[in-house]
Every structure is written in structure tokens, then in C-alpha cells.
């Protein structure tokens, strides 16, 4: 029994090392295998910089938009529960289940010249396919579930008594939302933001099809990395991969710091509101 336990533990540890630790470690090693200067050179090329800028910007917009919409959808699902909310709940998971290439193709089909929607948009001067707008649509599509699913349990867990207390104390509807509900959801909102953001940062399949991948214009980081690999530049790809992983990790750290900071500010305000001169 004891021996079996040990064998199992070693099996799992071994698998974790072979699947995750070794490969990711090797990427980092590969990225710096030509020394620091060649790493810098690889990631400071104008095309690389432009790709990262574009990825960051569109991911940011995606995260904001989908967190806001995710909050609304989660409230609809958890609080208002209109007719058909069961179907709505299922639809939200679709982007998780649909292959990302298929998602990309869907958008090409819908907004491309073959469909009436695409034709109408083109006539009105809006191009979606092979543009940044297309990338945004693709990212919004694939990240919707993450925002909603991050917020749903938090809304479910909201203490209705707190709201009721606010109502009883005479707060208006908007004030209850701003002062009671949103602050209580701040951790969930934070994780919705971070999940959609990182998910947008790393997305590949749908974007590679929708964006057209024009360097300096519609090429995002993951597509850029793939391009380098196609050209047998493993070291350059590894360098860019390290930057991409670093940016995602940074986002996590920043979010944690921000939440901690917000938490403290609120604590200080509370103490001040209690009329004390106490130090917090």
C-alpha cells in the first residue's frame, strides 16, 4: 500500500515534469541560448514590438468589454432569470466547445463578401475580415464564457441581506449597485478581467484565420510566434514565447496587487468614515 502510493506519486510527478516543467523550461533555455543580446534583438524587432502592442491593446479592449457584458449576462442569468435563460446558459459555453479554427471560419463566413451581412457592412465601409476589428470579434467570441463563468458564482453567493440593508437605509437602486454589489464582486470582476485578458493574449486558432496576418498591421503575438516557427527560427520563437508568458504572468501579478490595493483603500475609507483617527 505504501509502495503503491509512492509509485503513484512518482508517476504523477514524472508526468508533470515531462509534460509541463521540462518543455516550458526548455523554451526559456532556448530563448536565451544565444545570450542576452540575441534575445533582446529577437524581441525588439519592429515586427515583434508591433505584434505585442497590437495583442496587448486588443486583449485589453476585449477584457473590458467582455467583463462588462459578462457582468450583465451573469446578472440576467442569476438574478432576473428571464424566459429562455436555460438556453442562454448553454449558448455561453458554445465558444468553449467550438474549435477555435471553426470560430474563426464562422466569422470569415459571416462577415466575408459571401454573406449578406458582410456585403451590407462592406457597402457601408466597414471591413471586418482581415482587419483588427475582425480580431476583436474573434477574441470577444472566444472569451465570453470565461467572463460569465467567473462572475456567476460570485453573484450567486452575494449576500442579499446586505442589499436589503442598503435598501432599508434608503439607498437608491444605482447607489446599491455602486456601493454594495460591485465592491462585493470585486474579486470576481478581477478574475473575469484577468481570465479574458490572458485568454485573449494567447488566442491563436480563430485569430490566425480571421486576421489575415499582415505583419505590422494584423499580426498578433501568437501568430507572430507561429510565423517564426514556420521559418525555422526556433530561438526567435522561443524568445517571443517567453515575452508572451511573461506578459500573462505580469497581468496576474498586477491584478493581485491592484485588488490588494483596492482592498486596503476601502479599509482606510471605512476607518475614516467611522470617525476614528486610528491608523490602519
Amino acid at each position: 500500500m505504501r509502495f503503491g502510493r509512492m509509485a503513484l506519486d512518482s508517476l504523477i510527478s514524472g508526468a508533470l515534469i515531462l509534460i509541463f516543467v521540462l518543455p516550458l523550461g526548455a523554451v526559456i533555455q532556448q530563448a536565451f541560448s544565444g545570450g542576452w543580446s540575441s534575445f533582446v534583438q529577437a524581441v525588439m524587432s519592429p515586427i515583434a514590438i508591433r505584434a505585442f502592442e497590437l495583442t496587448l491593446a486588443i486583449s485589453f479592449v476585449t477584457a473590458i468589454l467582455n467583463t462588462a457584458m459578462g457582468l450583465l449576462i451573469a446578472v440576467v442569468l442569476e438574478r432576473w432569470r428571464p424566459v429562455g435563460s436555460g438556453a442562454l446558459d448553454a449558448v455561453i459555453d458554445l465558444p468553449l466547445a467550438i474549435p477555435t479554427t471553426v470560430s474563426g471560419l464562422m466569422l470569415v463566413l459571416l462577415y466575408g463578401p459571401v454573406s449578406p451581412v458582410g456585403r451590407w457592412l462592406t457597402e457601408h465601409g466597414v471591413a471586418v475580415v482581415y482587419t483588427r476589428l475582425g480580431i476583436l470579434f474573434a477574441l470577444l467570441f472566444v472569451t465570453v464564457p470565461y467572463a460569465v463563468r467567473a462572475l456567476q458564482p460570485a453573484i450567486q453567493a452575494l449576500d442579499v441581506r446586505q442589499e436589503e440593508a442598503a435598501w432599508v437605509l434608503g439607498a437608491s437602486g444605482r447607489r446599491v449597485w455602486l456601493k454594495v454589489i460591485v465592491p462585493a464582486l470585486r474579486h470576481a470582476l478581477g478574475s473575469a478581467l484577468i481570465l479574458t485578458f490572458t485568454r485573449a493574449m494567447i488566442e491563436f486558432g480563430s485569430v490566425v484565420i480571421v486576421s489575415g496576418n499582415k505583419p505590422m498591421q494584423t499580426e498578433v503575438a501568437s501568430v507572430y510566434i507561429y510565423g517564426l516557427l514556420e521559418n525555422y527560427d526556433q530561438r526567435g520563437a522561443a524568445a517571443a514565447a517567453v515575452i508572451l508568458m511573461f506578459l500573462c504572468a505580469l497581468a496576474f501579478v498586477l491584478e493581485a496587487r491592484l485588488l490588494a490595493l483596492l482592498g486596503r483603500r476601502r479599509a482606510v475609507r471605512w476607518a475614516a468614515a467611522e470617525g476614528g483617527t486610528r491608523h490602519v
Partner: protein, 269 residues
């Protein structure tokens, strides 16, 4: 919150999801069948498409098996907070924030023919990169979190006293797994497996990089869709896409069913 706001908010949510998810989903079905059933059927049953679909099926099958065998012990490790559980949890959740392309790259760097381990494996005639094992590895990399993620809370909710009760009553750990744990974890495991299936069917970036996407050798369904769209064979791309989309839809229905069944199961306890 006034009635008007509720209606407006609900409408916005519905319209947003309809435009973002519903319409594109419908578009691909319509697009695939634009030329009627004949061309659709032809595209889906072409030799290349059939090969790709079978490849996807095989990879998914092996992945499910491996994830079950590796994922459950990891879930117990994390749920029990056994030494090193944070590290295991961190590693298992890592793939969720690693780009599939990077995952593929990482596997190539270690298991490619130019790498130390890859070269050694080639020497003993195990081809990992640009072959089936590599593609399975890539899929596992991306899907391992799901089963762990679904079962950890269930294991924690059940606690460990039932297991101890079984031990005291004479059941071996293996018997306890079968008689006490698995019946109670059934729904969570199935849910995790359904998610794994969805993600395995759809995995693209990591498999693309690892496989080299060689027609009729390492081409999966999603790679087929990509190649077809790059080669501007849109009918074929749409047809297989529609098939995959329908499979996803079926999985979503299954997930909804599992969620209800599992929920009822949990409430009962």
C-alpha cells in the same frame, strides 16, 4: 432595480450573445449547406477529411484515457493538500494561460529531433514530434486541467471520513476507490471528460506546431479545416467546420445534462 432596467438589460444580454455567438454559429451551418447536401456529403467523406476526422477521434480517445489516469490522482493530491499540492495545482492550471502555439513550441523544443530527449527517443525508434505521440502530448498539455478542475471541489466536498470508514470496515484503497469514491465522483468526472473531449476535438495551435500538419499523416480535423481555408477550398473547410460545430453543440447539450444530473445528485446529499 426598476422593471424597465431589467427588460433593457436582459435584451442587451440576449442581443449581444445572439450577435456574438448565435449568428456566426448559424452562419457556418448555412455556409456548409449552401450548395446543398450533395457537396456537403462529398466534402465530409473525402479520403482526406475522413482521415483527419479519424485522427482527431483517436487522439481524443487516447487523451481521455491518459487524462483520467493522470488527472484523478492529481485531483486527489490537490484536494487533500498533500505536500507539494500548490505546485501541482499551479502546474496543472498553467496551460490555461499558455498560448497553444507556445505549448507546441515547448514540446518541439524537448521532443523534436534536434533536442536531446527527442533524439534519444528517435534512436529507440519512438517518433514523438511530427507524429501521433507528439500530437497526443500536445492535446494532453492543453486539456489536463479540465478533469482536475472539475473533480477537486467534489473530492473536497465529500471529505475523507467516508474513505476512513471504508478502511476500518476492511476495504482496501483500491476497493474504496471503486466502491466509495468513483460512484460519488461520477458526475464530476463525466463533466470533466466532456470538457476534455470538446477541447481535444478543437485543439489546433499546439497540434499544428507539433504535428507539422502533414496531409494524410498527421492531419487532424481542425488542421484540415485550416489547410482547406488556406488553400481556399472553402466548401471543404465549411463542411468539416459545420460537422465540428455540431459535435460541439452536442457536447454542450451533454454538459448541460451532466450539470443538471450532477446538481441533482449533489443536492440530494
Amino acid at each position: 432595480m426598476s422593471k424597465v432596467w431589467t427588460v433593457v438589460g436582459t435584451s442587451i444580454a440576449y442581443v449581444w450573445l445572439l450577435l456574438l455567438v448565435g449568428v456566426p454559429f448559424a452562419a457556418v451551418l448555412v455556409g456548409a449547406l449552401a450548395g446543398g447536401w450533395g457537396p456537403f456529403w462529398q466534402s465530409v467523406t473525402s479520403q482526406e477529411a475522413l482521415f483527419a476526422l479519424r485522427m482527431t477521434g483517436e487522439i481524443t480517445g487516447v487523451t481521455l484515457l491518459v487524462n483520467l489516469v493522470l488527472g484523478l490522482p492529481m485531483a486527489f493530491w490537490i484536494a487533500r493538500r498533500a505536500p507539494g499540492w500548490r505546485m501541482v495545482q499551479w502546474l496543472v492550471e498553467l496551460p490555461l494561460s499558455v498560448s497553444p502555439v507556445v505549448a507546441g513550441l515547448a514540446l518541439i523544443v524537448v521532443y523534436g529531433p534536434n533536442a536531446f530527449i527527442g533524439a534519444f527517443l528517435l534512436h529507440i525508434h519512438v517518433k514523438v514530434a511530427f507524429a501521433f505521440p507528439g500530437m497526443v502530448l500536445a492535446t494532453i498539455f492543453v486539456t489536463l486541467p479540465f478533469i482536475v478542475h472539475e473533480t477537486v471541489p467534489a473530492i473536497r466536498a465529500i471529505g475523507d471520513t467516508q474513505e476512513q470508514a471504508a478502511y476500518v470496515l476492511g476495504a482496501s484503497p483500491w476497493r474504496t476507490l471503486w466502491r466509495v469514491w468513483l460512484p460519488q465522483l461520477k458526475w464530476s468526472i463525466l463533466y470533466g471528460l466532456a470538457l476534455t473531449t470538446a477541447r481535444s476535438l478543437g485543439e489546433f495551435g499546439a497540434v499544428l506546431v507539433v504535428s507539422g500538419s502533414i496531409v494524410m499523416v498527421t492531419e487532424t480535423a481542425t488542421l484540415f479545416v485550416y489547410q482547406a481555408s488556406v488553400n481556399n477550398e472553402m466548401q471543404a473547410a465549411y463542411a468539416v467546420s459545420a460537422l465540428l460545430a455540431l459535435a460541439s453543440f452536442a457536447l454542450i447539450l451533454l454538459l448541460q445534462f451532466l450539470k443538471r444530473a450532477g446538481g441533482r445528485n449533489l443536492r440530494d446529499h
